[in-house]
């Protein structure tokens, strides 16, 4: 069985086959012998070749959250929704067509909208202020351009990933 995984910009395709006492996992170049603790808790023992890891693994919305040596990795795994998500994520990069979208990096409260439709902005210039976790965060223009759309309203609560403004 093959699984496609995406972590940030990195993509990985892993084949998984059962073998005595565990699994043989390969990315086409390297093959690992893996034992995987099948309990249902979120923290498991995983042995990759001879190295033991205590790995946290849990489903979080559309992704898998995996924790190893303190580092959190979010993976998209291939299923019907996977391709759609990939397509969505590519839209966010925004370079195609010269559009750049400003999205909320964290859930929070818009406390101040500094720019309006038609304003020219320089790269790095603050466009609005988002208060979250008790801090005021300036949301800056990722590149120079003209503001063509402002969705954010002062006083409104926004979710992570919500569209705030568009620069062209």
């Amino acid at each position: 069985m093959k699984f496609a995984l995406k972590h940030g910009e990195d993509r990985l395709e892993l084949s998984v086959e059962e073998e005595a006492g565990g699994y043989r996992v390969s990315d086409g170049k390297t093959t690992w012998h893996v034992r995987f603790d099948d309990r249902r808790g979120a923290v498991r023992g995983v042995v990759v070749d001879d190295t033991r890891h205590s790995i946290g693994v849990a489903r979080k919305g559309e992704t898998w959250d995996v924790v190893l040596e303190g580092i959190n990795y979010e993976f998209l795994t291939r299923d019907a929704r996977f391709e759609k998500l990939l397509a969505l994520q590519q839209d966010r990069g925004g370079d195609a067509g010269g559009r750049a979208e400003l999205r909320a990096p964290i859930p929070g409260l818009v406390t101040n909208v500094l720019k309006g439709v038609g304003d020219e902005v320089k790269e790095g210039e603050p466009v609005l202020v988002l208060a979250a976790m008790k801090l005021e965060n300036e949301i800056r223009a990722p590149r120079a351009g003209k503001i063509v759309e402002v969705k954010a309203k002062a006083g409104a609560a926004v979710e992570k990933g919500e569209l705030l403004a568009v620069i062209e």
Binding site: M1, F3, L5, H7, D10, L12, L14, V16, Y23, V25, D27, T30, W32, V34, F36, D38, R40, G41, A42, V43, R44, V46, V48, T51, H53, S54, I55, G56, V57, A58, R59, K60, W64, D65, V66, V67, L68, E69, G70, I71, N72, Y73, F75, T77, D79, P105, I106, P107, G108, T111, N112, V129, A131, A132, M133, K134, L135, E136, E138, K160
Partner: protein, 505 residues
């Protein structure tokens, strides 16, 4: 109001500090009362308490900052004292006064002491009178709209803007150029107003490459004041502390005695009782400036408890009951070394951005001299309404090197699934040569430390393997109900049926 024995204590706070305060109360046989917002209905501090009362909706302004509701809850349940923890109402003189007026003991200093020194502007004036050096700057809060450019020029850039009330880095800004002054003033005022309900700020010279050294003091209502040594808090980012230690490698016995004596002198100048902390900037040449006093228990108080063998919350309660301090200065010499790592839901790989989210899995470290102070458990969540603290992990060792190794060992045992955390940052920092030598200052993390080199590719592969295997297992176990839904258990036909029923609605 006459001090009296406390039999029932209301803890006017949430998360780890509420849990920590209740632990000491419980050891003293005191009945505990929690208060909570709608976001915290099932939080550990609520479940731990003997009684719990709802305050209001999740925003702090409508719950944990509603002193009137808190005092009403205390009256209703017959609590004879309120412990404010840190943050929220802990340094609010008006709240301390309202407690006194309602006949409820406030576990903390008197409203007069808070008024006299808790505010940064007043603190500078007290220090001046007591002959304690402070950083050059404005001795009063700046008025709304006041032009500070001339003063800033006179002090000399860079300057630091600070909220007159409160702490923890909120409303603080470093300004390096005159043209950046106005915008930063505006934002600092906004942050201060949102966090503390008071938008006034003041400015002072920004000292480059200092250490942040603070002294724990403790007073009683009989005029006794002692210090419990210093804490080293220079490992910080955007004025938020990340690692705290006691003692500091930069403070020897002679300097400790001098700074400790200064701290006691200032506390006595305002008739201080209870736990308090005096913050100093320490320059490389050993000269120090008093910054401000925090008139409450600090987040990082456990490192002090570990090197002095004390329980500061128990001492706070004893002092609030009118007792004399349980220690003499000679009892409080530092023993060994303690270090605390703040475990917050912040992603060190994306500029420390705070992340709200669920705690899906949790393995808690343990072992010799290892302390885990948390207000969250598996199944809980980091809410966007409050700060991003998950827990504090504190280790003690016979010396600094052992304490650091013990903390690394404990961090390696810790697994938190669901939100990115500071754990990889701590592991990287504790392995850093300069940190291990003690060679750092308050700007170290922002200017001289980098997370690069930690994102090792073999780890990512192991993580990917775990994700693929877990995904595979869930798919194989999942009965294909209405197109299939990952994660349904097959162990019980009853549960599958129940889920099918649920899917129809």
């Amino acid at each position: 109001m006459k001090p009296r024995k406390i039999r029932k204590l209301l803890v006017a706070n949430r998360a780890e500090i509420a849990v920590r305060v209740m632990r000491s109360a419980r050891e003293l046989g005191i009945r505990t009362v929690a208060v909570y917002s709608d976001a915290d209905e099932a939080a550990p501090h609520v479940q731990m308490a003997d009684e719990a009362y709802r305050l209001g909706p999740p925003p702090a302004k409508e719950s944990y900052l509603r002193g009137d509701l808190i005092i009403a809850a205390a009256k209703k349940c017959g609590a004879d004292a309120i412990h404010p923890g840190y943050g929220f109402l802990s340094e609010n003189a008006a709240f301390a006064q309202q407690c006194a007026d309602a006949g409820v003991t406030f576990v903390g200093p008197s409203p007069k002491s808070i008024e006299a020194i808790g505010n940064k502007v007043n603190a500078r004036q007290v220090a001046k009178k007591a002959g304690v050096p402070t950083v050059p700057g404005l001795d009063r809060a700046a008025k709304e709209g006041e032009d500070l450019s001339a003063l800033a020029k006179k002090i000399g850039f860079p300057v630091l803007i600070k909220a007159a009330s409160g702490g923890g880095g909120r409303g603080m800004r470093v300004v390096r150029e005159a043209k950046e002054l106005e915008r930063n003033l505006r934002e600092a005022r906004g942050e201060a107003a949102a966090a503390f309900g008071d938008g006034s700020v003041f400015i002072e010279r920004y000292v480059e490459r200092p250490r942040h050294i603070e002294f724990q003091v403790f007073g009683d209502t009989h005029g006794n004041v002692v210090h419990l040594n210093e804490r080293e808090c220079s490992i910080q980012r955007r004025h938020q502390k990340l690692i705290e230690e006691a003692p500091s490698v930069a403070v020897d016995a002679k300097l400790r005695a001098k700074m400790g004596e200064t701290a006691i002198r200032l506390a006595k100048a305002v008739n201080y009782h209870g736990a308090g902390t005096l913050e100093f900037l320490l320059e490389p040449d050993g000269s120090f400036y008093f910054l401000e006093m925090n008139t409450r228990l600090q987040v990082e108080h456990p490192v002090t408890e570990m090197i002095t063998g004390t329980d500061l919350v128990k001492a706070q309660i004893a002092v609030a009951e009118g007792a004399k301090l349980p220690w003499k200065q000679d009892d409080l010499a530092p023993r060994g070394h303690a270090i605390e790592a703040r475990i917050t839901a912040e992603d060190p790989f994306t500029n420390f951005s705070p992340q709200a989210g669920p705690i899906l899995g949790l393995t808690i470290p343990s072992g010799p001299h290892t302390r885990w102070d948390a207000g969250i458990r598996e199944g809980g969540a980091i809410s966007m309404f409050y700060d991003s603290m998950i827990a504090k992990l504190i280790c003690w060792g016979t010396d600094r090197a052992e304490a650091i190794e013990r903390l690394r060992r404990a961090l390696a045992e810790l697994v938190i699934v669901g939100v990115p955390t500071l754990v990889p940052f701590h592991l990287h920092l504790l392995a850093d040569e300069r940190f291990r030598k003690g060679d750092f200052h308050t700007g170290f993390i922002e200017k001289e430390f980098s997370m690069e080199g930690i994102d090792r590719p073999h780890l990512e592969e192991a993580a990917a393997i775990a994700a693929a295997l877990e995904y595979r297992r869930r798919r194989q176990e999942t009965p294909q109900v209405n197109g299939g839904n990952a994660g349904l258990p097959t162990s019980s036909a009853w549960r599958v049926n129940a889920l099918r029923e649920g899917l129809r609605t």
